[in-house]
């Protein structure tokens, strides 16, 4: 058996980094999806489309500033806001009339929205592949203990925990965060204590979509930005929030780590079938804990 022949400490280290950094992107996107699931009870299939719009918007901002490093930093900041604006319009015009509907209707509605967003992206940006170049400070690799660690992946390893801390602060320390947690459990009672739930929902939805956009902008330098990004991520994202516990953003973190790490170690173990490992992990988790690893609010 030749499995594991090429596994040495150096490749283990770099695969760990690759897995963790992929997990960070997944976490940022899935935390947004899970937040929307928890507070609004909407299974937003169009979440992946917002991630794709984030990536394309990042490209546009980057191109607007002559593909400079300033362009990259601005793309990280502005692209999520573009997505937030799109989601605000979608929420006020469409979603806010549909919250009382059953989940199947919402699923169909957001699926339709995904197709519409996909076509809109094709109209605006075309079908060509786009790319964003990371600034020189984030290009290349650093060598630590013989492992060659890409700087951009290390950068993601800093950003991911910052987002997690930010989300923790928002949900447990701010009043609007506490109101969101209350609305996730009993939206009617939140109205009874004098809070206009409609705006809480709008805020929660926009925040969730902002994270999708931020994930898209962060992933932009590491992939070719193209149509179809939406489908790839949304399937993974729904699996992750399901194994983590629906509506639980820490569950999204756990799920993302499982997904990212099993994939990257799968590459070491059995490269041709690496893609199978995260899905096998999902199956195992769901067999053991059908409602997800952490507490689901559903």
């Amino acid at each position: 058996m030749e499995l594991g022949q090429s596994i040495d400490l150096a490749s283990l280290g770099s695969q760990l980094l690759v897995g963790l950094s992929r997990a960070m992107i997944l976490f940022i996107v899935c935390a947004g999806l899970s937040f929307v699931l928890g507070v609004l009870r909407v299974p937003n299939v169009a979440h992946g489309s917002l991630y794709m719009i984030g990536a394309f918007s990042a490209y546009s901002v980057f191109a607007l500033f002559g593909t400079s490093s300033t362009g990259f930093w601005l793309s990280l900041i502005l692209a999520p806001f573009v997505v937030a604006l799109v989601s605000l319009i979608a929420e006020r015009a469409l979603f806010c009339h549909l919250y009382q509907r059953e989940h199947l209707m919402l699923l169909l509605f957001t699926f339709a929205l995904m197709l519409i967003f996909g076509d809109l992206v094709k109209i605006i940006w075309g079908a060509e592949y786009r790319s964003v170049l990371a600034p020189s400070i984030l290009r290349g690799s650093i060598s630590i203990f013989g492992s060659s660690l890409p700087r951009y992946n290390l950068f993601l390893l800093i950003v991911g925990p910052l987002v997690a801390i930010g989300l923790w602060f928002f949900t447990s320390k701010t009043k609007i965060g506490k109101i969101s947690r209350a609305a996730a459990v009993d939206r009617e009672m939140v109205g009874v204590i004098g809070i206009n739930v409609s705006w809480v929902f709008a805020g929660a939805f926009v925040l969730g979509c902002f994270l999708a956009g931020f994930g898209g902008a962060l992933v932009a330098p590491t992939v070719s930005i193209s149509l179809g990004m939406d489908h790839d991520i949304i399937i993974e994202a729904f699996l992750i929030v399901t194994i983590g516990g629906l509506g639980n953003i820490w569950g999204a973190l756990v799920g993302s780590l499982i997904f990212g790490l099993t994939h990257s170690f799968g590459v070491l173990l059995w490269p041709q079938f690496a893609i199978v490992f995260p899905y096998a992990a999902v199956v195992i988790v769901l067999l053991l804990r059908p409602r997800g690893l952490l507490k689901s609010v559903w």
């Binding site: 009043k175 506490k178 109101i179 947690r181 209350a182 996730a184 459990v185 009993d186 009617e188 009672m189 939140v190 109205g191 009874v192 204590i193 004098g194 809070i195 206009n196 739930v197 609010v297």
Partner: protein
């Protein structure tokens, strides 16, 4: 302060309230007595806008409020304590109170400090999750949460339900204190003794209709009311 005129409320197709009318004067405690399923909770929910009536009018401080959303009514000064308490289970006691806080109009308002004076037991469990409280603690927290919104009218649905007798007496004292603080209260109760001790005026509801009304003295003296509804 509150006038309910001939409201008809439905749950889906079933007709629950048949022309319920009642009045609550400022500064008074008025009770709504009746058996389980008589329509007390539906009356409360109709006033709060949770099950808006199909017909009839509700006026609060001479303003038409029929069909308004609950959050609008809360902002106008109506506080609601549901019979099933509905504490936000994921939030701590302190957070439950914090998100319900609303500035008082004019008079000195309720804040955490005054709430903890009224319900000292809540202070000790401030950081406990709402889902980990006993029934009595949840009841106190539900009332405290409603007070944090600084209401002028408090709708109290079955505050003594499921409480031990000593807790019932403690709660009665607290409701008296609220009244002394100038709050108007509409109290729905199955516990007739407790309700009559607290109230100035009473309504008796049965099968979705008001059967009798009068001062507490009148209700207690009326032979038929005593026999059929109060059983005291």
């Amino acid at each position: 302060m509150l006038e309910v005129e001939g409201i008809h409320t439905f749950y889906g197709l079933s007709h629950i309230l048949f022309g319920v009318s009642l009045r609550v004067e400022p500064g008074k405690v008025v009770c709504l007595l009746g058996r389980n399923g008589a329509g007390k909770t539906t009356t409360m929910k109709s006033i709060m806008g949770l099950t808006p009536p199909k017909r009839g009018n509700i006026r609060f401080k001479d303003e038409e409020i029929t069909g308004k959303q609950p959050y609008v009514l809360a902002r106008k000064g109506i506080g609601y304590v549901p019979d099933d308490r509905r504490i936000f289970a994921d939030l701590t006691v302190g957070e439950n109170l914090e998100i319900a806080a609303r500035k008082a109009r004019g008079t000195e308002g309720w804040d955490m400090e005054r709430i903890y004076e009224l319900f000292p037991a809540l202070k000790n469990i401030e950081s406990r999750k709402g889902g980990c409280l006993s029934g009595g603690e949840q009841k106190m927290l539900a009332i405290a949460r409603a007070l944090m919104g600084n209401p002028e009218l408090l709708l109290l649905d079955e505050p003594t339900e499921g409480l031990a007798p000593t807790m019932v007496h403690a709660l009665e004292d607290q409701i008296r204190k609220l009244r002394q603080a100038g709050l108007t209260v509409l109290l729905a109760e199955q516990n007739v003794r407790s309700a009559l001790r607290l109230s100035d005026h009473g309504y008796i509801i049965d099968n979705g209709q008001i059967r009798y009304q009068g001062s507490v003295g009148e209700l207690e003296e009326n032979e038929e009311v005593r026999r059929k509804y109060l059983l005291v």
